[in-house]
């Protein structure tokens, strides 16, 4: 288990303030934040590679705050791999084992296990600069795993790869984690990547931890506007939660009352995922408590799906599949009905 308490990291240009993070043993923990939010520095601080301004770090109940990086048992994989260019792939992978003066036979055993695990047996005698991005990243991963780390840090490991290699390596990461359960902290700016891999996600931005939760929670119940924007919740409203006639809550924005499920009352934000809105030509009977009529003012083509902007008066952004879009023959200016459940609206 990793505990990070009151971490302040001074980055010169800005400061990561008072970060508190707990990561469970064997967990795949993803730190999600925009580029330049200090994610790399956070990882380097945990690994002892960056001086802390303040704060303490525990690793399996041992405080490592002041420990030299080589004594922490924490491996790191960078976005651009940082393979040692003067060493062969084999010597890269076995670097940590040779430093430990491990017996040659044992080094060979570890090497062949890792090479098999990642499918890089054919690369062992090559030099790093002859490898593709995906191959390099596998070698970096093998090198990081070679020393059997207590904690594996991945710094945007997929960002520099082309889409194909990215998907392959993402699957690989998931399956290695499922097999060996190395506690992993994975940093990324890619929301989909976070959702696909994480047991839990921490969203950081504006120099602090914004929210920690399961991917589902981050996705459906963002706790701040920052997180909501990051999770691509395209409908974020600022308004007031009031008591309806039936005693249930209503969220009032631009003269429209949305039925919502919340105990809060007063000024709040509401967020609503675009895929949770059903678009139809006519109102239809359903259990969904919200139904509005509006006019399409914008259509953005995303390939398999499209985003409609519908003016009710507040603008709702709705996601529909290309099939439905074609079937309904929608175009700008059309009047459509929007239907969504009260429970789909997240109040924060």
């Amino acid at each position: 288990m990793i505990r990070v308490r009151n971490l302040w990291v001074d980055l010169g240009e800005f400061v990561l303030k008072d970060a508190n993070i707990d990561i469970n043993h064997g967990e795949y923990f993803v730190i999600l934040g925009p580029t330049g939010a200090g994610k790399t520095v956070l990882l380097e601080s945990i690994a002892g590679l960056y001086p802390l301004k303040e704060g303490r770090i525990w690793l399996n109940d041992e405080e490592v705050t002041k420990l030299e990086p080589e004594k922490r048992g924490i491996s790191i994989v960078y976005q651009d791999q940082m393979l040692f260019p003067h060493l062969s792939v084999k010597d890269n992978i076995t670097f940590g084992l040779r430093i430990r003066k491990m017996k040659p036979a044992e080094i060979e055993r570890t090497l062949s296990w890792l090479a098999g695990l990642l499918g890089i047996q054919h690369l062992l005698s090559r030099k790093p600069d002859t490898l593709s991005g995906g191959e390099k990243q596998k070698v970096a991963l093998a090198r990081a795993l070679s020393v059997k780390p207590r904690l594996l840090l991945l710094d945007e490991p997929l960002s520099a790869l082309d889409p194909n290699s990215r998907e392959i390596l993402q699957r690989e990461l998931r399956s290695i984690h499922e097999e060996y359960r190395v506690t992993t902290v994975h940093v990324t700016h890619d929301f989909e990547e976070a959702i696909a891999l994480a047991d839990r996600v921490a969203v950081i931005g504006d120099g602090c931890v914004q929210q920690i939760g399961t991917p589902e929670q981050i996705f459906r119940q963002p706790g701040s506007e920052f997180v909501a924007r990051f999770a691509m919740v395209r409908n974020i409203f600022r308004g007031e939660v009031v008591e309806g006639e039936d005693g249930d809550a209503r969220f009032r924005v631009d003269g429209v009352n949305l039925s919502v499920v919340t105990g809060h009352r007063g000024q709040y934000h509401a967020s609503l995922r675009p895929e949770d809105i059903i678009v139809s030509h006519a109102p239809f009977p359903s259990s969904a408590r919200n139904s509005f009529v509006g006019r399409i003012t914008g259509i953005a083509d995303k390939g398999s799906t499209l985003l409609l902007t519908v003016k009710v008066p507040p603008d709702f952004v709705c996601l529909i599949t290309r099939n439905s879009f074609d079937a309904m023959a929608l175009s700008i200016g059309d009047t459509v009905y929007l239907t969504f459940k009260a429970s789909a609206v997240n109040i924060f």
């Binding site: 690994a47 590679l49 940590g96």
Partner: protein, 264 residues
């Protein structure tokens, strides 16, 4: 390849013309003198014991200076490449000062500190090392004027080694010493080697600072000067040609070899 985008327009042609003037100004004197030399006289000069002795002393003294520079300069270069601190720019500026300090003035300053009656000179004298009119003096003068070239080159070399390579090595269990000797140093090695070559060649070239500290034993540049003063241009020329050839070989040939290796 990316760079070759300009067509051969008027700007390029004008620049080639202007550039050619200064390029020729640099190489014509050297090559004309080399090619105008009578090989027979050159060979004869090479076997003149006074010349041989002076050249070997020059090479040897410059090599010792380079060795000292390597041991002391590489660590400084590493620190400058890796750390930021207040006044770093000033330190870097001061390290380059020997390049631009007038050579005879540098000689006077070194004599003032290393002379028998002064400061460090008397300290060294008590352990039997003296700098005036000795090989030690020549080495000190050469070291002073040539050390910036090694430090600058090694510093650039270390800067090109991504600090994250060192960080990865640390996380894999390497101590800071192991990291330096297994990662940083090998990766900066070519730049350090270039710097050493440059330093050696620059040491060989020194005259002004050396003659103030040690006119004798005579290094080759001093011998050239003495022959020029005593016998005139004709008699000093063969020695000059020999020394230029040696400098060219050390500098251009060794440097080209180092750079060729760099491109794998």
């Amino acid at each position: 390849m990316e760079k070759q985008w300009l067509k051969s327009n008027k700007l390029t042609l004008t620049f080639i013309l202007l550039g050619a003037i200064i390029f020729l100004f640099i190489i014509v004197p050297l090559f004309r003198m080399i090619f105008a030399s009578d090989p027979g006289i050159l060979r004869e000069t090479l076997f003149d014991p006074e010349v041989t002795k002076a050249i070997l002393l020059t090479l040897w003294a410059a090599l010792i200076a380079t060795g000292i520079g390597f041991v002391l300069g590489v660590p400084l270069a590493y620190l400058l490449a890796r750390y930021e601190f207040r006044g770093k720019k000033i330190v870097e500026g001061l390290i380059d000062v020997p390049i631009v300090v007038p050579h005879t003035a540098a000689g006077i300053a070194l004599l003032f500190v290393f002379g028998r009656n002064f400061f460090m000179g008397s300290a060294f004298n008590s352990v039997g090392i003296q700098f005036v009119d000795s090989t030690a003096g020549i080495v000190v003068a050469m070291l002073f004027v040539s050390i910036p070239f090694l430090i600058d080159s090694a510093k650039e070399g270390f800067k090109k080694v991504d600090v994250r390579l060192e960080k990865v090595a640390r996380t894999l269990g390497a101590s800071s010493w192991q990291t330096f000797f297994r990662i940083s140093f090998p990766l900066a090695w070519r730049s350090i080697l270039s710097g050493n070559i440059m330093m050696w060649a620059r040491g060989i070239s020194e005259f002004g600072a050396v003659i103030i500290l040690a006119y004798h034993p005579m290094i080759a540049p001093t011998l050239i000067y003495e022959r020029f003063e005593t016998y005139g241009l004709t008699y000093s020329r063969p020695v000059a040609v020999l020394l230029i050839l040696i400098s060219l070989i050390i500098f251009v040939v060794l440097r080209t070899l180092v750079q060729r290796g760099k491109q794998r």
